[in-house]
Amino acid sequence: MFFSFLLCLFFTSLAYGSDYRERLLLRPLPHGALLASFNFQSNASSTSFEQQNFRYFPRSLGQILQHTHTKELHLRFSLGRWDAEAWGARPWNGAREGGTGVELWAWVEAASDKEANARWLTLTNALSGLFCASLNFIDSTRTIRPVMTFEPEGSHPPNALGNLHLLHGNLPHEVVCTENLTPFLKLLPCKGKAGISSLFDGHKLFDASWQTMAIDVRPVCTGDGSECVLEMEQTVDMVLDIERSKRPRDNPIPRPAPIEDIRCDESKFYNSHDSCMPLAKSTEPAWSLQDVFGRQISGACPLSDANDAERVICVNAVPERTFEIRSGAAQRVAEQVAPDMRCTALPSGPEEGLDFDLLFSDQPLTPPVNLTRPRLHAFRSMTGHGQERGGIEAVLRNPLSQPVSLVYMESLPWFMKPYLHTLNVAVSGNGNRDFQALKETYYRPAVDRERGTHIELLLEIPASSTLTLSYDFDKAILRYTEYPPDANRGFDVAPAVIRLLPNAADIASTSADERQKGVYLRTTDLLLPLPTPDFSMPYNVIILTSTVMALGFGSIFNLLVRRFVAADEVEGATLRARIAGLKERFRSKLQSIWARHSGKGEKDQ
């Protein structure tokens, strides 16, 4: 809690004021992992946005938003799984991450639902082109209109709220890769050439254990609503494995360390020259930005606000973990802004363009930084067997000593047909036998090939107990053309989105901006195996049916047309004679060839 308060202090200054700023937070995590959290924020005044005079705000995205009347946009590209047991609470309270693959939700201004759908379609198609992602596959079957899970982050004029439509779509199957990073970088004013964005390298970024790229566009107005800016936030969060990232680019295959470098547990009975039980490391590994990201930072992005530049890079580690700043000739020292937080600026002004690096030395193990505990653990898995039906089981565990209210949202593909009557919510833990955890249900059933199932549940979990949610579903049989090329892989089911509703204590301790962003959590996605047909089937069917029909036709026709006579009356004699003649000719020809061949043989002798 304390840490999130700190983070909040640290980042609230991001919200208003200057037109462009960027931040990087580095937090060493247990087991040699490193959280790197990049944040870029650019603003455009609403008048210049209306007139299409773009400066920090990218023109390509701005025109798409204007064309589709999108007032607020959230786009996520994610990869991997956040290990909450080891890494603690999610960065940004989960408000800047998405489910595996691509997730998009937006508030679109439209007079009717139909118009909103048309604009949403244009939006997904345009973004698909901009980000080189298959966003255009977000069609009506993957689009839902959430009711409780999301709330607008921006300040929209109250009279316009009635015309805003929230649409949400996701593509769990999409593989996020470098081709999505390049357009993401192009949207930044410094384009990865200066500032912290110069650390982005596709090879390292997509090699991370967990990685999420987010784009959030929202209008931010002053208190009285007279002055508005359109704020665009680009966030990249990733957890890198330091050892893995340090592998050189030209020799990326992991190899075992030489035996001399390994310290063995000599108390083991099997310890000998060729068997060894490695001892747990007692030192922190040495690393630098160059090692981990493959590059150094090439100076500050000169656009960022001068009075903000002092805290561009922050390291969230215990003070005992020392590091050295290398930039140009001047010696820099990081400024201690909080007990566990040290910040520094990038070389700017006359030193602009100089390389900057942070060097963490090899040193005895330091106590890990005090990580915030997550407020909820969520796991979801598939149950059952066979190709006909299955089940979903989600386990939500509340580790805190106070109850938590949450919204659980699922957006299922149409070919997965849940039975709502099998929905079972059970709370384990002492004294919870009669606890009514399910407060509210929103359910919109699927229509084949038109829309997917949309479930939203309002749940409450008592202090330190576990809630198990389960339901059964049927697997639909798809049409021949509806299978993807790799049909036997299975179909991805989008992660469930969980929103933790604030309780009274939160409201007191968090800022308004953070409350607007909310606290989110996503489960992993699932792989649903469907019955897969043999794809040569249609041709077999055509041939078989045709053969049966031709057989039937042929026999009836022959019965009607042929003349039936006694066997010895058949005029086939002529036919038989003809065959005999043919046989005779064939034999004589063979004999002549044989004779010529043997004659030749005699000559040779």
């Binding site: 210049s48 007139q51 299409q52 005079n53 773009f54 400066r55 920090y56 990218p58 023109r59 390509s60 025109q63 798409i64 064309h67 345009a126 192009k186 004013p189 410094c190 384009k191 050439k193 200066a194 992005c301 000169p302 656009l303 002004g349 006359p350 602009e352 055509i542 041939i543 049916t545 045709s546 053969t547 029909m549 031709a550 057989l551 036709f553 042929g554 026709f557 022959n558 009607l560 047309v561 003349r563 006579v565 006694a566 010895d568 009356e569 058949v570 005029e571 004699a573």
Partner: protein, 570 residues
């Protein structure tokens, strides 16, 4: 069968041994049986041909709406409309009597007709205010209430000749108003011709001036019409000097195709991080808005602007080299085509219909400043049908950080002038005459002609397509679009004949859009890719085995029938 047996019996076996071996024949078939068999075969064939074929035909038929093919081809061949450009020139002479004006008009018209060698384009002089003379007071009031555009619809005056007597000089002189379609003519007072005269120096002077004024327009129109094969055959074109022809061909490759909306994108590209802002709103307002306001009678324009930092050259071109003579960095002329780093510079076209015209202001790095074109030392150029580029060399300073962060309105003035000139030439505005309204009206006529020809040729292509590909479907929407196109083409042609060029342009524009819509109809494109072989592959497994017994039975019966007939005849 029965006859055959008789035939066999006609030649008796030569000996008894063979007689034992002789084939035992089936009993003769009764005519009743033969008849039944034939009827059965006939019935099968009848079902196949009379029921099967029509059902198959009906169910696999593609819908083809009927198109007026002959009319479409006529348009494509230029039979329906011969472009003519009757320009009406109003003559106003407040100091002269109407009698004198009419005399001047008569003689000048004569002289003009003699001078003109391009029959499609002719100038007709009319008195400036006969309409008002003839109207009643009420009508004059209504006329006054009409807006200028409405007035243009009814009587399109291309140019106003303002005859003004000058008392001082003895020779005539002219002055063209740069921002109005008015030509002031100052003539010595004694040159007013008598009513009986057949020629006069004043009339010749006016005729020559007018001819000179419209010579470039005539050349452009003639060049344009010569490039349209259908029109070139039917109309006599004006002979062009080779110099003029090169100029016109360069202009036609450089300029954009006509579109109702153009998107203008102004981009500031900086090699490093400074300057990172420009006062573009003010600059556009001051230097470009007036031009766009006058151009708005032809097309609409949307404007957007962006700032992009750290713009590097594309690796495919030679990097700039330092020229010691000029003390400047130079980029070679052949590399200008690759100057735009299309892979990295975000210059995607704007969303919405219509082409995007890009204007790029490039500020080189202070280490590479000033940057010039090696061959001519210039710093701006034009990319045909794409946009214009201008390199802005900021005042040299050794220390890069002292460069300004913001380009002010004053800094942008020269660049904006270059951009507006580039815009005019990208839109295909002619160089002469030196009057914007006249240039615009020339452009209107040019665009109308090219739109008419493009719509007509699209119609022709559509007609050929539907005739050559008989298996593609033609939905009703195509037929509707074709009808609209034909109607609009007709209207545009009539408008041109009557000198209403603004409404001719409007009609031609709609005609062109509808013709394109008809040609690129989506459902028609899809059908082309469904091959006949595919159908055969699906039908063959059924039709093959069924057809073989049917055909064989029919053949056998026909053979028997023919043989029987021959025997009967013999």
């Amino acid at each position: 069968m029965a006859l055959e047996t008789v035939e066999g019996e006609a030649s008796p076996p030569p000996n008894i041994a063979e007689a034992v071996n002789i084939q035992k024949k089936p009993p003769p078939e009764s005519p009743q049986n033969v008849w039944t068999r034939r009827m059965v075969i006939l019935a099968f064939w009848a079902v196949a041909l009379l029921l099967g074929m029509p059902v198959w035909w009906k169910t696999t038929e593609v819908y083809r709406a009927s198109l007026p093919l002959s009319q479409m081809t006529d348009w494509a061949e230029g039979k329906n409309c011969k472009p003519v450009f009757p320009l009406r020139i109003a003559v106003k002479a407040p100091m002269l009597s109407s009698q004198e004006i009419e005399t001047i008009i008569r003689i000048t018209q004569h002289a003009l007709d003699d001078l003109n060698d391009f029959s499609a384009h002719h100038l007709r002089l009319v008195p400036a205010d006969p309409i008002i003379h003839r109207m009643s007071i009420q009508e004059i009031q209504e006329y006054g209430n009409k807006t200028s555009s409405q007035r243009n619809d009814s009587e399109d005056i291309s140019l106003l000749l303002n005859l003004k007597p000058s008392f001082g000089s003895s020779t005539s002189s002219t002055q063209l108003q740069p921002y109005a379609a008015t030509l002031d003519i100052y003539f010595p007072n004694n040159q007013v011709p008598l009513s009986t005269a057949t020629s006069s120096p004043l009339a010749n002077f006016i005729a020559n001036e007018l001819q000179a004024l419209f010579s470039e327009e005539q050349a452009s129109l003639s060049y344009l019409m010569a490039s349209i094969p259908s029109v070139a055959q039917t109309s006599k074109s004006k002979a062009l000097s080779s110099e003029m022809a090169t100029k016109l061909s360069r202009r036609s490759t450089r300029s954009f195709k006509y579109a109702p909306t153009y998107h203008l994108t102004f981009s500031l590209f900086t090699a490093k991080a400074r300057p990172s802002a420009w006062e573009i709103e003010a600059a556009l307002e001051e230097y470009l808005s007036p031009l766009l306001a006058s151009l708005s009678i032809i097309s609409n324009f949307t404007i957007d602007s962006q700032v992009q930092l750290y713009a590097t050259f594309s690796p495919s071109i030679r990097q700039p080299e330092f020229d010691h003579e000029r003390q400047a960095w130079t980029v070679r002329k052949e590399d200008l085509g690759g100057f735009i780093n299309a892979a990295e510079w975000p210059l995607s076209p704007s969303i919405g219909a219509g082409p995007t015209v890009n204007f790029i202001l490039y500020v080189p790095d202070s280490a590479q400043s000033p940057l010039l074109i090696a061959e001519n030392g210039g710093n701006s150029w034009l990319v045909p049908q794409w946009g214009g580029i201008q390199i802005m060399n900021l005042p040299f300073s050794a220390d890069g950080s002292t460069r300004p962060t913001v380009l002010t309105n004053d800094d942008l003035r020269p660049a904006m002038h270059v951009f507006s000139n580039q815009l005019m030439s990208l839109l295909g505005l002619p160089d002469t005459p030196n009057s914007l309204p006249l240039k615009l009206s020339t452009l209107t006529r040019l665009h109308t002609t090219s739109l008419l020809s493009s719509a007509s040729s699209t119609l022709g292509a559509l007609a050929r397509l539907t005739q050559s590909l008989t298996s593609i479907a033609i939905p009703d929407s195509v037929a509707t679009s074709v009808t609209t196109t034909l109607y609009r083409l007709d209207a545009a042609c009539t408008d041109m004949k009557e000198g209403r060029f603004a409404s001719a342009l409007e009609n031609a524009r709609v005609a062109e859009a509808e013709a394109e819509k008809a040609f690129f109809e989506r459902s028609m494109v899809g059908q082309v890719y469904f091959p006949e072989e595919h159908k055969v592959a699906v039908y063959l497994p059924l039709l093959g085995p069924v057809a073989v017994p049917l055909v064989m039975a029919a053949l056998k019966e026909i053979r028997l029938l023919v043989r029987g007939r021959r025997v009967q005849d013999g």
